[in-house]
Amino acid sequence: MEKILEIKNLSKSYNGIPALKNVSISVRAGEIHGIVGANGSGKSTLMNIISGNPVIRETGGYQGEIIYRGSRLQVKNCAEIIRLGVGMVHQEFALIPDLTIGENIKLGREETCRFTDRLFGRKYSFIDRRRNNEIASQVLKRLGLDVDVGVKIIDLSTNTKQFVEIAREVARSDLKLLLLDEPTAVLSKSDALKLLEVLVGMSRGGLGILFISHRLEEVQYICDRVTVFRDGEVVSRYKKGEINVTKLAGDMVGHQVYKANAQKRSVKATPVLCFKKFSVKMPGEEIKSLDLTVYEGEILGLTGLSGHGKLALGYGLMGMYPVAGEVIFKGHKLDRMNARTNIMKGIYVLPDDRQALGILPEHSLAENIIFTGDQVKYLFSRNPLGFIDWKGAYGYVEQAVRDFEIKCSSPKQRVKELSGGNLQKVCIARALTVNPQLLFVAEPTRGIDIAAKEKILKMLIDINRSKGTTIVIATSELDELKRVCDRIAVLVKGRVFKILYPDSPDLEFGLALAGEEGANYEGIRQDEELPEGLPEDLCG
């Protein structure tokens, strides 16, 4: 089979720190080549090199050879590589929010009216909107998505956006190689499955695909070959048939993955926080007159489908969005949802969007960790003007780095250079400086590789057990909640639909998430079939 892409002895380092060491891989036509690795193992660097991201040249280029369809690849920017027939789908969306689906898909490759083509030249010709939309909707249908192409991107859900992004690449007729960087990270399992089938179909048609994913089952499911990266090196390669999720996971982290698991226990029902008819106007995640009681010292899980309000609770408490209703914290009513006063009272919220809300990217690791403690509780400084006592602060930060095993070159390293898992650890370390009694965590493991994921869950359990901190975790990862939580509240349409326990049967979770009243579940036998129309991923 023809080799589309061949990479020989590729090495790359940033400021003397190696990111890739002697990597060789190849992609043949009609093959899906999977790449798995923990965060920081060099996958993104590889992507950046192939796609000609200017970052690589700015930091001193790379060593080694990349051969693309028989000739050596030397690209200066992303536009060139796109012209050569390489498509890319990134984790972050590169869509224009104010254009419609159809316009986004055909952007830059619009069909034009033949008459005006001749009149004004192709560049100034009128766009044949109807034909564009037709083609766009055909492509989307091929991807198994039935949606009106006239809808603007801004109004779409994350799932659909990802499909549009992929559709844009698929719609190209000159596509030879497709690079996918965690295309399914934001998709639900059923949607991901749909996407994977499309990918398999495309590769049958002779397309080479380089597929990066955290979800090992997917890799096992669709890849013809898999290369495992660890610390910038290729540690193992597998062919179809040999691929095995446990083996991949083992290779990725280099040792057995420890699964965080909280001991079952019973928590006394002393309320620490009561929501009464609480509403939060967070666009797309609205909470409407919710009643919920959080008990002292417990770990409470909040789950629900996206858009049903599980993320809004914490933000509402911090006054990020307009709220209504009553909140009682330790017997006293919170009269104003103000981040400062609530942090002083002992409530802390860790955001789901770490990049946008959780860090100061240009500041150092140390400055990020001490920020809230310094600003709100005036820790780390001993004078009225608030000059930091750096000796004490670095002592504290170094302790935190050791305790939480934050991987960094020094506490002075800029925090934007850290990987997702380490960023989350920094966020948690920052929360602990103010010693909260109640900690809200939203999507703590989103975009983090398995090994780091378990460490973060374990951190949360440890904090809860050793300090007695009450923790509320809002996430869609039901499996994680079941391992960590004492109780799990399922939100539907911005209200608590049902409170379940980790040992409640999967079926009941599924029903609750879908908003189906499973009234008395004793009546439903475990082996009974699921009601129709229920998304299968909800049932774990």
């Binding site: 942090i343 946008a356 809300l357 310094d374 600003q375 000059f387």
Partner: protein, 361 residues
């Protein structure tokens, strides 16, 4: 080729270590080349480089405080202070009051500083309240606030009951003159304080000490709790809000501080220049200052003291060199054209560069 890359990397590392995270960008390279050409030309035309050097030192501080005044606002995420005329007119009011009471020497100068802190504090507070209502569009709003305060103050200059005859129009005796000489009062009081003469070189130590004091003040400000909060607000406002920081208050402090520093800046400028310039003069003073901080390497989103100082020196030295050179080899009128061209095109470059970054990342 490989040697070159290695050399370049070495140089970059060297700069990184010795100038923090400083990186040389295209505008600095262009300006440096331009400056070198000018220097070579000056040498060829046998100009007195020592005198030019002496003047460049004075020019640095004369304009330097105005440039430094941009930093608090810039780092609080309120953009480049195109509304600097607000602070400048505040400083001018203070200067006029000092002159009105015929205060001379350091008394006059420090009285102006004190008064401008008061007046600009008030102006800056109102200006800050306005800018807090137009979040995200501070630069364009600032430009127009600057434009509109000028005619308002023109009324003030003509109608305010100043008594000192030397300030007023000679005929009619009402309304301030557009250009008030500071000669009898505190002209060059800082310039000549502790002036060190070594050979042909004049080092204005007093002027430098004052400049260093302002730099030190800003350095310390960004290390106080409020200063750190200012940087955080500028870098990630949502993060700061979630961490319990009162965004409006911090921005207000930063904007008021910028305005107050602009007031001090115009006092320093006026004593060096020897005149108080009223009416439409403050209108165009924001642009060279903004241009300077951009030449220093700021992207227009945040700036450091080092960048402000370096930028001021580069820009002012170029201004300084173009005058005699243009007189010598070109038509004299070209100087002003060149100055304006450099100033505005650098701001334009920064705006272009910044917007492009916004799309890519």
């Amino acid at each position: 080729m490989r040697e070159y890359v290695r050399m370049r990397n070495y140089l970059k590392d060297y700069l990184r270590i010795y100038a923090g995270n400083y990186r040389i960008k295209p505008p600095q390279i262009i300006i440096l080349i331009f400056l070198l050409t000018l220097l070579i030309l000056a040498r060829v035309l046998e100009m007195d480089l020592v005198i030019l050097f002496n003047e460049s030192l004075v020019k640095l501080v004369m304009n330097g405080v105005l440039v430094l005044s941009l930093l608090p606002m810039l780092n609080a995420g309120a953009g480049m202070n195109f509304g600097m005329p607000v602070g400048i007119t505040g400083g001018l009011v203070a200067l006029c009051i000092s002159v009105n009471f015929r205060l001379t020497g350091f008394t006059g100068f420090f009285m102006s500083l004190l008064l401008s802190l008061v007046v600009c504090g008030l102006f800056g507070w109102v200006y800050g309240l306005l800018l807090n209502r137009v979040k995200g569009r501070e630069e364009i709003a600032g430009t127009f606030i600057g434009f509109s305060i000028i005619p308002l103050m023109n009324y003030f200059w003509t109608l305010a009951p100043f008594q000192n005859r030397q300030m007023l129009y000679p005929i009619g005796g009402q309304g301030l003159r557009p250009k008030i000489s500071l000669d009898p009062y505190f002209s060059k009081v800082l310039d000549n304080f502790c002036l060190l003469k070594i050979g042909g070189f004049d080092i204005p130590l007093g002027l430098f000490a004052f400049y260093a004091l302002i730099c030190l003040f800003l350095y310390l400000f960004f290390r106080t709790r409020i200063g750190r909060a200012t940087l955080a607000v500028g870098e990630n406002e949502a993060f700061a809000r979630l961490s319990g920081i009162d965004i409006a208050k911090i921005r207000l402090i930063a904007i008021a501080l910028s305005t107050m520093l602009a007031g001090i800046g115009i006092c320093v400028y006026a004593q060096s220049y020897g005149f108080i310039q009223l009416y439409d003069e403050p209108l165009s003073m924001a642009f060279p200052a903004i241009s300077a901080v951009l030449i220093g390497g700021s992207t227009g989103r945040r700036a450091w003291i080092f960048e402000a100082v370096l930028g001021t020196y580069l820009l002012q030295t170029i201004y300084l060199l173009t005058v005699p050179l243009a007189n010598e080899i070109l038509i004299p009128e070209l100087t002003e054209i060149l100055r304006t061209f450099i100033t505005y095109s650098i701001i334009l470059y920064a705006l272009l560069y910044r917007n492009r970054r916004g799309i890519v990342h």
